[in-house]
Amino acid sequence: MFLPLLFVVALQSSIAPELPAGVGSEFQAACLEVEGRLEAKDFAKAQRLASHLPSLDVPYQWSDANVRPADRTHYIEIRDRLFKIWGHMVPGLTFKESTKPAMKFGFEKVLAKVPDSDLPAGAALFFSPPGEGPMVESVIGLTRGNPAVEVTDAEVYNETSYAIGRYLGLAPSPIPGSALGRTDLPGMGFASVSPIEASRAQELMAITQKLRDAAEHKKTMTPTKPSVFLDPVKLDGATVLQGKKIDFSLQLTNRGNSTLNYWLQPDCGCFSLKRSGKVEAGGSALVQIRMDTTQYHGPVEKKIALFTNDPANPSILLPVTVNIRPRYQFIRPGGSVVVVPDGGANVDVYLAISEGAGLDATSADFHGIAGTVKYVPWKGVLADPENGEGAKPRTGYKFTIHLDDSLPPGRASGTLSVETTNPDFPSIRFNLSAQKGIVALPDQLYMGELGGRPVPATILLSRPHSVYKILGVACDLASFSAKFSALPQPGEYKVEITYDGKATIGEFHGLLTITTDDPKQPKILVPISGVVR
């Protein structure tokens, strides 16, 4: 006889439904209040409070008296479009105009400034306790920014959508571009309701329905109060070599009475981790976080945001610090530009490899310019001024690139490509510029977008340590003229090209011809391009 009775009692008393992570604190507090009344068996009050929880039937009021008459119809269209979108994404959600609204929308010319900012709020959101007005009231600024500019359709849309999301219990989102990722800044485009936001809203509406049912059927409930404890509270990866994958472990302990739901949001794609999970009451979970350091060097500080359904800690920021040593450096004493004399040149490029890098060269090739490359293991003392490093002992390889006499005059780019044994850096590259003879700098002249005004441009001509003469300059484009002058440095000239502002609209491509007294380079051709608008 006793067993069925016990079963009935057990059915009537249970743990309240657990909330997901990423729930608005106001919504969470309202649910806890209902659950508290259910626990205390104060069913009348629980029922009254539960009737004020958000539901799929949303009575609303739209007060647009402050909106310019010309904009009113338009804003209503925006509102109705949003009601339709939210209704589509949260099945069953309907909005009905009412004099006893759960949601109220209003407009003011300008709102008060956001704390610690010179910007006015784009919208203000007010939450009222049950029975004391609309659960959510959104007041949208008709101007925003500093100086004030009129609110745009996209901003009215975004603020209305944000208010609906908050009414449905969602927390503000750190992710820009989503419905809950609002900002007070002007100039935003339309933000769409994300599938995650929609599915979470569905989940929350199911929970509020459960609480209403419990109150109606007088079921006692123990409030869900998960409590998160984090260890460690900061992740320190110490000093590592670039490319190393650092594995961190984060222990989440739930000291509360119900399941802890969490969701992790890193601020960098360099982390791989399972983004969400659950920890049972009294239990703990280890979250494995892997950080890929391939694309960084130097001191790096990233952050992982942890969102939970712990009412006391809805979000926690977890700093991750690591100091990353470069795995290798190419060093070319004298810079990456090589002046190649007649007869060719040998160019030394050093590959300095950090200790313990696990990186050996297996082959080397030189592309882009006719040349050969040889390499040998190398050890020596070398500075790397480009990275601000003085002379110090280094180990690695010395590559000798031979640029032969067949290199044509002018400027050319080549790439030293080194295959390595390291799986994270299987192929590493170093770019080199070679200059031979008289060189035009730049060797292609891009004029950009031109209009109806004259625009001057400059090309420098250089052949270090060897004197030559320019005999003339000419451009084959009708709207361009060119003249040259010698610079103080021997072997250097300046060619000034002037666009007269009169070309027809459209793209142009032409050639500047520079005539010299050098029999090896009697003509230097410089392509000119741009567009006239």
Binding site: P176, G181, G269, P423
Partner: protein
């Protein structure tokens, strides 16, 4: 009635007065970008992708406060010295030149050489600044730029890349900073330093030169959420990869407001910047930079259709996957000939027998079987004799890097293309 205090919460907004305040004309608003490292488009290292010059231009237009706005860019907007980097630098100069008061000419720009220096300065409408470079016959840059109540200078952490750039030895970075401070005092303005040092170096400069009003430093991290000050100097950074625009409002003596703005998809592409970016892609295409990429020797590629003749079930899985139309996806986005992107959307781009162009190598114009398993000609000719290697996660992450594929998780993604005996 007992009411949970959170129920009254006001979503972080001021709940008191409903009135705006008049504009304070002693304030200056700075909009600061930079350090994009060649990321002209939104960077894939976050999801959703953030940053990019087109969104930045929109944000600058919307957030400018009339003539009390100073727009700065901290430079270092290219990451190499190849031809594509030159094209990028030219587009950056043209786009930033439309709204910036001063653009830092940093080490990465200096490495492009004196010819590009001339071009960049012209395209930027004279807005590049370098305090490292001394005046010379071939130096078109400004050493400092006056804007509002401020004197803007730009100093690299090391002067080495500026060696012989303008025919004269560069000013040491320490001396260049001293000169900026002294020049600012002489003209009765506050110094603003665009700096390529890191946070610690910036702090050290602030301690040695307390009259500098703002130091913009370089950082591989996102900008701090709250503004940092050292004495009376404000330290800020636009962070990595051009993902943020900073909005900093300075009063007479103190910071009035500071907002790091993540350039997410809610910022539309600005029309002029979009047109100039389109021109950049057209130039990359016209110069056929894709065909000029270094290629290493390899066995011959045969294309996935050939693989499918024996491995029909696997071919069917592949055909339904995003890999099978990976280049098409890129072409639809306008990046179909962009060397920055194509290697992860075709088969064997960096191999001599691999993808060359959609027209010449149509069978390789996608991420095919041989993208992961390697060139298959020898296996195809003698399948029993030559076996193809088994591949795993290490092959996926060559393209599914944190930057390109921030949500990549091997098992989830493997399930989308599960095939072979393992499948």
């Amino acid at each position: 009635m007992k009411i949970a205090p959170l129920v009254f919460a006001c979503a972080g907004l001021a709940c008191a007065a409903w009135t705006g305040a008049p504009r304070d004309d002693s304030n200056w608003t700075f909009l600061i970008s930079g350090d994009s490292d060649g990321n002209l488009s939104p960077c894939g290292c976050t999801s959703p992708m953030t940053g990019g010059l087109r969104r930045r231009a929109t944000a600058v237009r919307k957030l400018s406060v009339g003539d009390r706005t100073i727009v700065l860019d901290n430079g270092d907007n290219v990451a190499g010295t190849a031809r594509q980097d030159e094209l990028k630098a030219e587009s950056v100069a043209e786009i930033l030149g439309r709204d910036c008061n001063a653009i830092a000419f940093k080490a990465s720009e200096a490495k492009l050489g004196i010819g590009e220096m001339q071009t960049l300065q012209r395209l930027s409408k004279g807005n590049y600044v370098s305090s490292n470079l001394r005046e010379g016959a071939t130096n078109p840059l400004m050493r400092t730029i006056e804007a509002g109540d401020f004197l803007i200078g730009s100093v690299a952490a090391s002067e080495s890349p500026f060696n012989r750039l303008a025919g004269v030895e560069p000013e040491s970075s320490a001396r260049a900073i001293e000169q900026l401070v002294s020049d600012a005092e002489n003209v009765g303005r506050s110094a603003v330093l665009l700096y390529s040092g890191n946070r610690d170096q910036a702090e050290s400069v602030a301690r040695s030169h307390p009259t500098i009003k703002i130091i913009v430093y370089r950082s591989p991290n996102d900008p701090p959420k709250a503004v940092e000050t050292v004495g009376t100097t404000t330290l800020v950074t636009p962070g990595e990869h051009g993902k943020y625009l900073l909005r900093l409002t300075m009063g007479q003596t103190e910071v009035k407001s500071y907002t790091p703005i993540s350039l997410g998809p809610e910022f539309e592409d600005q029309a002029d910047a979009s047109r100039l970016y389109r021109t950049y892609l057209d130039r990359v295409d016209r110069e056929d930079l894709l065909s000029k990429l270094p290629k290493s020797s390899s066995p011959k590629f045969v294309g996935s259709t050939k693989c499918g003749s024996c491995h029909a079930p696997d071919f069917k899985v592949w055909k339904l996957s995003a890999h099978s139309h990976a280049l098409k996806t890129l072409e639809n986005d306008g990046h179909g000939r962009d060397p920055d992107c194509v290697s992860c959307h075709v088969t064997g781009l960096e191999k001599k027998g691999g993808f060359f162009s959609h027209a010449k190598t149509p069978l390789l114009a996608m991420v095919g079987c041989e993208s992961c398993h390697g060139a298959g000609a020898t296996h195809s000719a003698a399948p029993r004799k030559v076996k193809m290697p088994k591949v795993g996660e290490s092959h996926c992450i060559k393209c599914h890097t944190p930057s390109n594929s921030p949500n990549f998780e091997f098992l989830t993604y493997w399930n989308k293309i599960r095939h072979g005996k393992r499948g």
